[in-house]
């Protein structure tokens, strides 16, 4: 691949990922409000809109996040008198950037072969030519990069609490740091069983393994349960939202934030939800893998559509142009991520908040030992299979 193709394709992929993320975040704000309204037998927000040719356009409340963003941009950016100005401004940036950065290693489709764009790929054999991996960065550390960035996210919350010069913020920051550092450990360990089976740390190879064999959730259900719990705790959302417990801490570590800085925390939280779902999709739900969709097109177990209608013979063996396959895979990925996000919101509106010591107990006394057990059990089974 020459440099120009590399640069252009990478820029296009970054653009695509950013568009996806920044579409998901506001839609998620809307989804959370409307979904909670539906759960709680309310109508929900639906009023924000504008008048166009005398007709009011409301789009079922989809414009509320837009109004929110406008409001946040125009609000006063308040910094407390004794706050550390640099750190105070830096904290939301760290939170947001680490949340977005995680997407760099998540593959959203199979490798794209430029020469085959409009033709079907051969069913078997290796394909040569310019190959563009459909993820921003192909890192051999893969998932470790994700954990590293998630670990850096702790810094954002902690700094926000420290730099605000507010005891509630400080307490919130401490809680956030304690909770996130603890769950970091659990989060990594829950996935070790999967790494052992997939035999790789690269997310794209994990998806390929699941594409060839079976989705991760069927071979590591316990790991999925533990991962999902730990990951929700990592995003600091209900039922694990003690860092911002408004009944005792006002607003936690972002008490002293206003305007778009608060908006960045807000958006960071939602992007973390998307990241969590994207990771769960990649590791447990086969990523871009759509059953019956192979790299050459749809696969009907060797059968093909072959019949004649009114003298016209119809024959279709299911092969699709490469670009259609890639588009279908991307769509599959997005749909899977959306479903998982929906499920997360469902959890968020179903469960009450844990007490802080309960959160810690859950992490160290239940998730961590269970994750270790899962690793041991997976190892034993793998050994037995190899024998």
């Amino acid at each position: 691949m020459d440099t120009a193709t590399l640069l252009i394709s990478t820029a296009a992929k970054i653009g695509f990922v950013l568009v996806i993320i920044f579409t998901f975040a506001p839609v998620l704000v809307w989804a959370e409000r409307r979904q909670s309204a539906m759960i709680q037998d309310r109508v929900g927000p639906h009023r924000a809109g504008f008048r166009l040719f005398g007709r009011k356009i409301e789009l079922a409340g989809l414009l509320h996040p837009l109004a929110d963003a406008l409001k946040m941009i125009w609000k006063e950016d308040f910094v407390p008198a004794k706050a550390d100005r640099l750190l105070h401004s830096l904290a939301p940036v760290i939170t947001l950037v680490t949340a977005i950065g995680t997407f760099a290693v998540i593959p959203f489709a199979d490798t794209l072969y430029l020469e085959y764009l409009w033709n079907a790929l051969p069913v078997h054999g290796s394909v040569t030519g310019v190959a563009i991996p459909m993820q921003v960065a192909k890192l051999n550390v893969g998932i470790l990069f994700v954990f590293a960035l998630a670990g850096t996210g702790v810094v954002g919350a902690a700094i926000a609490g420290y730099a605000s010069d507010n005891k509630y913020s400080l307490l919130g920051g401490l809680r956030a740091a304690g909770q996130m550092v603890s769950y970091e450990v659990a989060l990594g360990l829950t996935l070790v069983g999967c790494f052992m089976i997939y035999d790789t740390l690269r997310l794209e190879d994990m998806v390929l393994w699941q594409h060839r064999h079976v989705w991760g959730i069927f071979i590591q259900p316990v790991a999925f349960l533990l991962y999902f719990t730990a990951a929700i705790a990592e995003t600091k959302r209900i039922p694990f939202d003690v860092p911002e417990g408004e009944s005792e801490l006002v607003g936690g570590y972002f008490t002293e934030y206003s305007g778009m800085k608060f908006g960045m925390f807000f958006m960071g939280e939602f992007i973390e939800v998307v990241v969590l779902s994207a990771l769960a999709t990649t590791i447990f739900f086969g990523g871009w893998d759509l059953p019956l969709l192979d790299r050459s097109g749809l696969e009907f177990f060797g059968y093909a559509l072959d019949f004649s209608v009114g003298g016209y013979a119809v024959y279709w063996d299911g092969s699709l142009p490469h670009i259609v396959v890639i588009a279908l895979q991307t769509l599959t990925f997005i749909v899977k991520v959306s479903l998982l996000i929906w499920f997360q919101l469902m959890i968020r509106w179903s469960l009450p908040r844990f007490r802080y010591d309960q959160i810690m107990a859950l992490c160290w006394k239940y998730i961590l030992p269970l994750a270790l057990l899962n690793v041991v059990a997976t190892g034993v089974v793998l050994l037995l299979i190899e024998r």
Partner: protein, 198 residues
């Protein structure tokens, strides 16, 4: 040392399923999902949504809802009110101001009734208790308009004078009530007649 009798209250026992937490989470999720699907995907009349899109959509008020006041009309269009001041006396908020006046001597009602020259209700003071309606012997003041006060930014807009009060129809759209009104001089008039003498 006195022996203090204590009653030991034990924690309610939890079953293993409750302790395991996951079945309970599943139950809770089941409940919320049930609501979600019911309210999102069923037809509007089958949802259980309790709120409405006010002001586009309004709930019906009960029949006896006490809205803003109105002064009922006689069949000739004059107010039924005889300026007896019962309502303003009964009013706990003292928001009704009436200035009674005598009819002209050639009017058949002269000597029998008075009429309100000025009838003003301060709707901002009114507590909508309905005592004025109860006190009225002539069915002249009613709160059956089914409206609440139109909002305004000016206090003056809430001082309703006689003409305003008479311009508001009841919720059935009529100004004249169904209750018969016996004018002085009518054979059905129950009071002492001028011809009968006092």
């Amino acid at each position: 040392m006195a022996v203090v009798k204590t009653k030991v209250i034990r924690k309610p026992k939890r079953t293993i399923a409750e302790q395991a937490f996951i079945p309970e989470i599943a139950k809770g999720l089941g409940l919320t999902m049930n609501r979600f699907f019911k309210n999102t995907f069923s037809r509007p009349e089958n949802t259980e949504i309790a709120t409405v899109r006010y002001p586009e959509e309004q709930r019906e008020y009960p029949e006896r809802f006490r809205g803003i006041h109105r002064l009922t009309h006689r069949t000739d269009g004059s107010p039924r009110c005889v300026a007896c001041l019962c309502c303003s006396t009964a009013c706990p908020a003292q928001c009704i101001h009436i200035e009674p006046a005598e009819y002209q001597p050639d009017d058949p009602r002269y000597g029998y009734e008075r009429y309100p020259e000025v009838f003003v209700i301060d709707e901002l003071r009114c507590i909508f208790c309905g005592y004025c309606v109860e006190a009225c012997p002539c069915d002249a003041i009613r709160m059956d308009t089914g409206m609440h006060m139109p909002p305004s930014t000016k206090r003056a807009h809430f001082i309703y004078d006689k003409e305003t009060l008479m311009s508001i129809p009841g919720h059935d759209g009529t100004y004249v009530t169904g209750n018969l009104r016996h004018e002085p001089g009518d054979p059905s008039h129950p009071g002492i007649d001028r011809e009968q003498g006092h």
